[in-house]
């Protein structure tokens, strides 16, 4: 579909104006910075309302088919919206698992019935989705899933447990990887992929308290929980391929996401602003030569990551060691955020020892919380250590560890 450049520019103006007018005000409490941090009802309702508002304004799923509730427009329109949203540090889209992982997957390989049943409510945040991949005993080793799904008549009976299940406590559906056959040659065989309703009998959700003291993750237990057979996505036994496809969407290696972000990244600009306001030893932190040096390092790194993204789009500059730029995004960004968080705290000197809930904690304690929550990205979705293995092996061709 050809896109008119002028139309896009016109659209961008409209989008700017809408977000200028409709950006949510400070709710009076600390909002989560990512979809993995939604711990309280008031946070959840605030975020769900916000997603619905954006959808109803026509700014979500713009490139998804109209038939299922999308906008039916070319992708560049959604890209403009995404850019404007990211620029403004607006709250993220709470149903991001639906918007970016489950939704694209269903559109890509779901049945007509599945598309009709799920897509619109993903966009409106009516149905929240969660993901059941990790299990307690092998967090990094997804293909080793042991949750059993046993076919009985027109149902599968589920037994086992999933863990680190973000949003499970508010989700209506789960994308679920389960083992339908345990007598296979390799662990990659015998897995199946389901779109599972969370209200099935025998499903129990135990919230997991995070190291911050808050909630947001869950462990989900299945005890003889029956799933209708038509919840199956793809063929029985070929769940690993579906999971890999899902991971492609999750990691942004494949397009088709509805739009919106999953997190509000901390920008170095915010940390610079903090350094201007806090004092160390009686002088503004930003006047300290050592702190200035570190701020510049962070600014360079932040810019470098953005420029990596820009370079990835230029074939002649991305053809050598292919895959490197995309595969390192998660590693670089998550480790960067972790170090930036620790640095931001250090600017606050003695007052860094306050915590969320204390009136003296700078910015309601977001920096302390951010320091701890940063581990969700360096650990979740494959630890940084595993990322390095993957990059070393796939990009550089080094032997397996």
């Amino acid at each position: 579909m050809a896109v008119d450049k002028e139309e896009l520019q016109e659209f961008q103006k409209e989008v700017k104006a809408w977000f200028d007018a409709n950006a949510p005000k400070d709710p009076g409490f600390l909002l989560p910075q990512s979809f993995m941090e939604v711990g309280t009802d008031k946070q959840f309702h605030f975020l769900r309302d916000w997603q619905r508002e954006v959808y109803e304004a026509g700014y979500l799923g713009m490139a998804w088919p109209e038939d299922y509730g999308g906008g039916g427009k070319p992708q560049p329109f959604q890209d403009i919206v995404n850019r404007e949203m990211a620029k403004r540090s607006l709250p993220f889209m709470v149903n991001i698992i639906g918007l970016s992982w489950a939704g694209p997957l269903i559109l890509n390989m779901g049945t007509e019935a599945q598309k009709r049943a799920y897509i619109k409510n993903i966009l409106s945040a009516e149905d929240i989705w969660c993901q059941g991949f990790s299990e307690p005993d092998h967090g990094s080793d997804l293909a080793n899933a042991q949750l059993r799904a046993k076919k009985t008549g027109d149902h599968y009976l589920l037994n086992g447990s999933k863990i680190w299940t973000t949003l499970a406590h508010v989700a209506k559906y789960m994308i679920l990887l389960a083992r339908t056959d345990s007598q296979t040659n390799t662990k990659y065989e015998g897995l199946s992929f389901f779109l599972a309703p969370m209200d099935a009998p025998g499903i129990e959700i135990a919230p997991i308290r995070k190291l911050t003291g808050e909630y947001g993750f869950n462990q989900v237990f299945f005890a003889d929980s029956p799933l209708p057979a038509d919840c199956l996505m793809g063929e029985e036994g070929e769940g690993w391929m579906v999971a890999v496809k899902t991971l492609q969407f999750e990691r942004g290696a494949e397009g088709g996401q509805a739009g919106g972000t999953s997190m509000v990244r901390t920008s170095v600009g915010e940390v610079v602003a903090l350094a201007r306001t806090v004092k160390r030893g009686g002088r503004p932190a930003i006047e300290d030569a050592h702190i200035r040096d570190q701020l510049v390092r962070f600014l360079m790194e932040e810019k470098g990551m953005r420029l990596n993204g820009a370079r990835a789009k230029i074939k002649p500059l991305a053809s050598e060691r292919p895959g490197s730029l995309l595969m390192s995004v998660k590693l670089l960004e998550s480790e960067f955020q972790r170090r930036l968080g620790a640095f931001a705290l250090s600017l606050q000197g003695m007052n860094a020892a306050y915590y969320m809930g204390d009136p003296e904690a700078a910015d309601r304690g977001r920096w302390q919380r951010g320091l701890f929550n940063a581990f969700s990205a360096t650990i979740g979705g494959g630890t940084s250590e595993i990322q390095k293995n993957i990059i070393g092996e796939r990009v550089l061709g080094l032997p397996k560890s």
């Binding site: 967090g139 620790a342 020892a353 581990f375 250590e385």
Partner: protein, 382 residues
């Protein structure tokens, strides 16, 4: 080749008494402060176990660094270090840190009357604390804005103090103020605190009990002022003593975090191997170990100098090095402890976060490593 420092002119003094105390304290903390107990106390308002506190007092630990004439053992702060290190390792919760520091302040700058009144009590278990920090957050303890104004033959305090540890349990608080435009220190007894003068702070280390103290409305008589002419020296001494105690607590904490990490690396399996066999985890764990070793060597060197000549540049440098070394090593170690626990590390239930929080606490009390290094540069690169 031998690289070991035959050339070392530095020696670490470590006495028989210290060795014995260290052994006793290590066993005591291990037995009396298992991690379940630490967690249970975290949820209680008081935050420590009074019966254990009494036990400590009866063991004489509150008087190790106090003169015998006031009921102490006549040893030095170097002996308090061998107590603080195992306490740190087991995250043992008690007002030991504040009470020991308050005693140091009294010993340095109390009048004879004040010393006679308070030191023997403290040695027997009376809890005391200090109110030295202010809203401006400067680590320099001589940067004081709170005031003691003379009114009707007495003193009226004005201002606010922060991070007053264990204040709710303390019988007395030593409050730093400006008096006649000079640094001073006032003894405020529990009974003299108006209702609502203290409010609990929410701090990053949940094993600690910290309070803000509103001074407005507090009065004291002039006899409650510590000796004015000794104040600058005493504040400096207390600053260094606090740093030394925190270094000990952090060395201990790092040791605990290392234990926890090694245990997990030796039990958790992924991809059919113990995760400790992966160099990506093993080598940084070795860095934790060498960081601990280095910090601990700095600590005991600083302790042995501190006893002898606390005012000298050498001792000050050694103490600041101990703090900078311990806080960097503990920050690294406790951070990796979380990371290497994977998903588990992200939970409240995993003890890794307890050490990380303790490390942050220790880092940001009484100067972080960059701040101490700047001070060290002034001493060492004159």
């Amino acid at each position: 080749m031998s690289l070991v420092g035959e050339s070392s002119a530095w020696k670490i003094a470590f006495s028989e008494e210290q060795a014995q105390l260290l052994e006793v304290a290590a066993a005591f903390c291990r037995e009396k402060s298992p991690i379940e107990k630490v967690r249970a106390l975290m949820t209680e308002e008081k935050g420590f176990d009074k019966s254990l506190w009494d036990e400590i007092a009866s063991l004489g630990w509150l008087g190790v660094a106090a003169p015998e004439s006031y009921g102490g053992s006549g040893l030095s702060l170097a002996e308090a270090i061998v107590l603080a290190e195992p306490m740190g390792r087991r995250l043992f919760a008690s007002p030991f840190f504040t009470t020991t520091l308050a005693a140091q302040m009294l010993i340095r700058a109390g009048t004879e009357t004040q010393k006679k009144r308070w030191l023997p009590k403290i040695c027997e278990g009376t809890i005391a604390t200090l109110a030295l920090h202010e809203p401006h957050g400067d680590w320099d303890l001589t940067n004081i804005t709170a005031r003691a104004e003379e009114r009707e033959g007495g003193l009226r305090l004005v201002g606010e103090k922060r991070f007053v540890l264990d204040a709710a349990a303390a019988e007395m608080i030593l409050v730093s103020v400006l008096h006649k435009d000079a640094p001073a220190c006032v003894i405020v007894e529990k009974a003299a605190l108006p209702k609502a003068a203290l409010s609990r702070e929410t701090v990053i280390d949940e094993t600690k009990r910290s309070y803000r103290l509103k001074l407005d409305g507090i009065t004291a008589d002039c006899q409650s002022l510590l000796s004015a002419e000794k104040m600058t020296d005493a504040l400096h001494h207390v600053h260094l003593a606090a740093i030394l105690l925190l270094s000990a607590e952090m060395c201990g904490g790092l040791s605990g975090a290392l234990d926890l990490t090694v245990e997990y690396l030796n039990t958790r399996r992924q991809f059919d191997r113990f995760i400790g066999s992966y160099q990506a985890l093993k080598h940084p764990t070795v860095d934790m170990l060498t960081g601990w070793d280095m910090a601990r060597s700095h600590l005991y060197y600083a302790a042995s100098l501190f006893g002898k000549m606390a005012a000298a540049d050498d001792a000050e440098a050694a103490v600041r090095m101990a703090k900078a070394s311990a806080s960097d090593a503990f920050a690294f170690g406790s951070d990796r402890c979380i990371q290497f626990h994977g998903g588990m590390g992200f939970t409240y239930e995993c003890d890794a976060q307890l050490y990380r929080r303790r490390a942050l606490w220790g880092e940001y009390m009484h100067g972080d490593s960059a701040w101490h290094r700047a001070r060290l540069a002034d001493i060492l690169l004159k």
